[in-house]
């Protein structure tokens, strides 16, 4: 059985149990073991990078060390975690000078970054370990006629030179995996552009304007929902619609759904087990469309 060290990060366990639940349940169903590691910390995402880039590299390297010690590759759900860890992993594998500096600090924890493990995103595990064919065969409830606006979030794709996840201008992986569930992945303008989430707390007005643009474009393209991978994107677009309502006096009622939730539903997992009440914008429309209405 394939095993991965599951790196949950900070937001998912603390705020979005529906994401964690669906992710764990789907993987269990698809035969991938997720191992929780002791001692993990914050991945050191952009807010920490903004304060001190070198510290953030070291914190990320520390977390990778834990996986190296457990002899496991890392899988992340949050694209922010994916970016922090994968960038650190790939930079430190290549840049000897930086690695020496980082290991100098890690040595006081008795750790050493060796660069022997990989950092992967959940989607990569689906694509490479589970495989598209097996995934398609495992779908018991195809999401037929569901028009999904795929929104991977910036940090799954960029910086592409270090993440090497997909073509940064023409990504296909996320769309392919949505289509594997029977849904349709629709094109919408500015699909690859940011949700503005990282400006929340500093420039909420700008963040909201960007989020609104995103939702408008998806709605314009006739999407039934926006599928997300990043807890920040989710928050920005889901909670954001509440704020848009109060600020712009506009209502879009665009369900925001983590991909793992769509996956779990299509694998036949009972919606009741998925803590769907954590959605601010209710997703009943979507469940209706795929014939899975909650009682």
């Amino acid at each position: 059985m394939t095993s991965y060290a599951l790196f949950l990060g900070c937001t998912i366990p603390a705020r979005q149990p529906h994401y964690e639940l669906s992710a764990r349940k789907a993987m269990a169903k698809l035969g991938v073991e997720l191992v929780d590691l002791e001692g993990v910390t914050c991945c050191a995402p952009p807010p920490v990078q903004s304060i001190d880039l070198e510290t953030s590299l070291i914190v990320a390297a520390y977390n990778i060390c834990l996986a190296e010690e457990a002899d496991l590759n890392i899988v992340t759900l949050c694209t922010g975690c994916f970016e922090s860890l994968a960038v650190a992993n790939n930079i430190l594998k290549e840049n000897v000078m930086l690695r020496t500096r980082v290991n100098g600090v890690l040595s006081c924890l008795g750790k050493e970054f060796k660069g022997k493990k990989e950092v992967r995103h959940y989607l990569q595990v689906l694509l490479n370990d589970v495989g598209l064919n097996y995934l398609r065969r495992s779908v018991v409830k195809p999401l037929k006629s569901l028009r999904v606006a795929a929104f991977s979030g910036c940090h799954l794709l960029r910086p592409s030179k270090l993440l090497r996840f997909d073509d940064p201008e023409r990504p296909r992986i996320f769309d392919t995996l949505i289509e594997a569930l029977g849904a349709e992945s629709v094109w919408y303008r500015n699909k690859l552009k940011c949700c503005g989430g990282l400006l929340r707390g500093y420039a909420d007005d700008v963040a909201l304007a960007i989020a609104r643009d995103k939702i408008v474009n998806a709605a314009h393209a006739g999407a039934d929902c926006i599928a997300t991978l990043c807890p920040f994107c989710f928050l920005t677009l889901d909670l954001g619609q509440v704020l848009i309502k109060s600020t712009y006096k506009e209502e879009y009622d665009m369900p925001i759904i983590h991909y793992t939730e769509l996956l779990s539903l299509s694998l036949g997992i009972d919606p009741k087990e998925l803590a769907l009440e954590f959605h601010k914008v209710k997703i009943d429309k979507v469940l209706d469309k795929i014939g899975l209405n909650l009682p």
Partner: protein, 800 residues
């Protein structure tokens, strides 16, 4: 060989030298050196009565080696060797040194030390002279014929020049028609004339105007010019002056002598394929001709598209019975003396720049595609349309620097795209004054006579300019419109420009065959894949391969005026190379002592000229061999050979060693002795110029001249220290400006290596330094010598 009888001639330069040096003491010293048969003093020895003294001594057989202490660098050496040769002595039995600029002037404050140094310099020269051996001349045949590869503007111009100078010329073109990229371009800037226009040949039957359309210029009728279309070079053998080139000719399937270009064949041909010549904007038949025609005015069959005998309808209708479906490829071997590469450049495929969606959105096109549209003979008969719906395009946005000046794709500026955009914008605005034409640019580059006026004209005609590189082209499907997202930097505002047609000014990149051809010809490509010239400043159309020249866009994207200049230059160089039908060369070259050459195969890769080849032996191993014709005599191979199997005829290993010992055998200075090994190019001229401009440096610095710093061996450095040097300076050209390309760089690497070994030997690595100097940096040589001396003093004596 007769024992060495050295004549030593000491000039005092009208007293300039004797003012500082004790010439009397020096003369007495020289007289007592073993082997010195004759000593003379004069004001100067390189001309007039002084030179006569040398000539007499040689003629009277008093001496068979000549050592002259002169004061005029280089010129004196040339004059003296010439006179000596005329007097019957091999000119390479002469050694000239410069006591004024290398000793008297720089050390004028310390005459005693300078006098001792002068003795050392003379002793070294005399000891070297005793070991000198005659060097003979060799003659190599040079066939008076030239191969020109590439039938575009550059190749045609060069071919025409050479053919008219009575060289036998073979012009090889890969495509079935001549003309190259230029023929597709329609119009040219800055003359606004046709692309298919060239300098008119000097044919009696043709009126001699400044320019002519290629097809009516009589180009193909120039005597001595042989045009081979549909052909490519596949193999090169032989040596400069006498190459054997194998050319593979694809069959045309149409007999060139019979075809009357009546078009009946094309009218019945059932196969339609995208027309490359028209940038695939329309189709053509499998049997076709390019219009307007260039040369030959004959149809050709596209063998990949044609169904041949399964169809053969063209054969039936051809009134001239010209179609021969059974033609086979053939190989032709050409014997040529030199080769000109004129393979041009091509448009970069911008589909990799995904933000611009080229290849995905039909209305995003390149300049070449636009040029075809603007051509009245082209696919749209000169009308600009949106390829997606064939409707006229009114709003046109040009994007500059697409794939060029872009570190991700091609880091260089393609240099002609700004002008092409201006040309096309002007053409559009002139034809359709109501068209909305915008050029998005990073920097407009219009360097060239009349080019800025072009820019001005575009503004006058109402072309809009936006300073800013668009980040993305978005397609709005509802209106079938393109949206160009760009920041107008001068307004600091983000714009969304709506366009019917977006034209990408793409990078110009090397032709696809460049790499393969470079491999066949043994030429170097630069980091961008263009053919690399011998020297950008001085030998722009020559290559390191003697006898092979390059011109036009093959070396870098060029406009036509520059290409013309370049082609004429290459033609001139090729002509000069073959003019006498033979190449005469002094054998100042490297040679391999095969008894010791041990198959390590290192030297061939270190030779910048490819002069060293590996010759197979019976045991499957190889022995290195130097081509005397190609060798430039730099000695980089000597500096590399780990077994000492390679030597230079003009500077044997024992001559170096004996000079090292002699230069260091006389001290006479309170300062630590330094041996400066300098290359005879920039390095030595820097030493010369420091003396000529009377810079001061101490007399403990003794200069040993070698052809190139790359010849220096680590052993030489150790030997110098062993012989008493307290420090060693290596003086070479700038690494990028090395006269032998790689020598200075190799010297630097050996110096680094030697420094590391010195450290292991317990010797301060600072005792060895490399300096990269040029002629105008004489002051830096003097300064380096002073600093080195001071540093060595601080380090204290080296006791071996």
């Amino acid at each position: 060989m007769e024992a060495a009888k050295v004549g030593v001639f000491i000039a005092d330069c009208g007293g300039q030298i004797s003012k500082v040096l004790d010439i009397e003491a020096i003369t007495n010293f020289v007289k007592n050196i073993d082997g010195v048969a004759f000593v003379a003093r004069n004001s100067e020895f390189w001309r007039g009565q002084g030179l006569q003294i040398i000539v007499e001594a040689v003629k009277n057989k008093k001496i068979n080696r000549v050592v002259v202490a002169e004061s005029i660098p280089k010129i004196s050496e040339l004059a003296i060797t010439k006179a000596v040769e005329e007097a019957g002595l091999n000119p390479y039995l002469v050694e000239v040194l410069d006591l004024k600029n290398h000793c008297a002037w720089p050390h004028r404050d310390a005459p005693l030390e300078a006098t001792e140094k002068a003795k050392a310099l003379l002793l070294a020269a005399i000891e070297k002279a005793k070991l000198l051996e005659p060097i003979e001349k060799a003659e190599f045949p040079a066939v008076k014929s030239v191969l020109v590869i590439g039938g575009g503007i550059a190749g045609m111009q060069a071919a025409e020049d050479l053919a008219e100078m009575d060289f036998q010329v073979y012009l090889v073109e890969r495509e079935p028609f001549l003309g190259g990229l230029a023929a597709m371009a329609g119009h040219f800037f800055p003359t606004d004339d046709c692309a298919v226009c060239i300098q008119s040949p000097d044919l009696k039957t043709i009126s001699r105007t400044s320019r002519k359309c290629v097809y009516r210029s009589g180009f193909s009728e120039i005597p001595n010019l042989n045009i081979l279309t549909n052909s490519r070079v596949v193999k090169l053998e032989g040596a400069p002056g006498n190459y054997k080139v194998t050319v593979e000719r694809k069959p045309r399937y149409v007999n060139e002598k019979k075809c009357v270009a009546c078009d009946l064949c094309a009218s019945v041909c059932p196969v339609e394929v995208p027309d490359e010549y028209n940038a695939k904007l329309k189709t053509r038949k499998a049997i076709y001709i390019n219009k307007p025609l260039i040369y030959p005015p004959v149809y050709v069959i596209d063998e990949e598209a044609c169904k041949f005998h399964d169809c053969a309808r063209c054969v039936e209708v051809c009134p001239a019975k010209a179609i021969e479906l059974d033609q086979k490829p053939e190989k032709v071997t050409l014997n040529v003396g030199s080769i000109i590469v004129a393979t041009g450049f091509k448009e970069y495929d911008p589909s990799v720049i995904k933000e611009y969606h080229y290849g995905e959105y039909p209305d995003v096109i390149t300049h070449l595609e636009l040029a075809r549209m603007l051509d009245a003979f082209g696919p749209t008969n000169g009308v600009i349309i949106k390829p997606s719906d064939k409707k006229p395009a009114k709003r046109i946005v040009f994007i500059q620097c697409v794939g060029s000046r872009d570190r991700r794709w091609n880091p260089y500026c393609s240099s002609i795209c700004c002008m092409i955009s201006l040309k096309h914008a002007i053409m559009i605005k002139s034809a359709y004054p109501d068209a909305d034409v915008t050029i998005c640019y990073i920097d407009m580059r219009t360097a060239g006579r009349g080019y800025e006026k072009y820019y001005e004209r575009a503004r006058e005609l109402g072309v809009k300019f936006v300073k800013g590189r668009p980040s993305e082209i978005v397609h709005d499907p509802s209106a079938n419109t393109l949206i160009v997202e760009v920041e107008d930097e001068l307004l600091r505002r983000l714009l969304e420009l709506e366009a019917d047609l977006v034209v990408l000014a793409t990078a110009m990149v090397p032709s696809e065959d460049s790499k393969e051809l470079a491999g066949i010809l043994g030429l170097e490509l630069d980091e961008d894949g263009f053919f690399k010239e011998y020297n950008a400043k001085l030998r722009p159309t020559e290559t390191k391969r003697r006898g092979i020249f390059i011109c036009g866009g093959a070396t870098f994207p060029k406009d036509v005026p520059t290409t013309s200049i370049h082609s004429h230059s290459a033609a001139l160089k090729a002509a000069k190379f073959l003019l006498h039908g033979r190449i005469v060369k002094d054998l100042k070259v490297a040679f391999v002592n095969e008894e010791y050459c041990s198959n390590c195969q290192i030297c061939p890769v270190t030779c910048p000229y490819g002069a060293i080849t590996l010759v197979p032996k019976e045991n499957g191993h190889f022995v290195a061999r130097v081509s005397a014709l190609i060798c430039e005599g730099c000695g980089i191979c000597v500096g590399t050979c780990p077994v000492g199997a390679i030597e230079l005829t003009h500077l044997r290993q024992n001559q170096i060693q004996t000079q090292i010992r002699a230069l260091l055998s006389i001290n006479g200075t309170s300062n630590p002795l330094i041996l400066a090994i300098s290359c005879s190019e920039c390095g030595h001229t820097a030493v010369d110029s420091s003396g000529m401009s009377m810079m001061r440096y101490p007399a403990n610095v003794r200069v040993l001249k070698v052809p190139c710093a790359g010849m220096v061996q680590v052993q030489h450095i150790l030997e110098a220290l062993k012989a008493g040097a307290q420090g060693v300076m290596i003086v070479g050209c700038k690494p990028d400006g090395c006269h032998y390309e790689v020598g200075s760089g190799k010297a630097q690497k050996k110096v680094e290596m030697a420094k590391m070994l010195l450290k292991a030997y317990g010797i301060e690595p600072e005792r060895l330094e490399m300096f990269h100097l040029i002629y105008v940096e004489g002051d830096r040589f003097a300064e380096a010598a002073r600093i080195m001396t001071e540093n060595l003093k601080k380090l204290g004596p080296l006791r071996l």
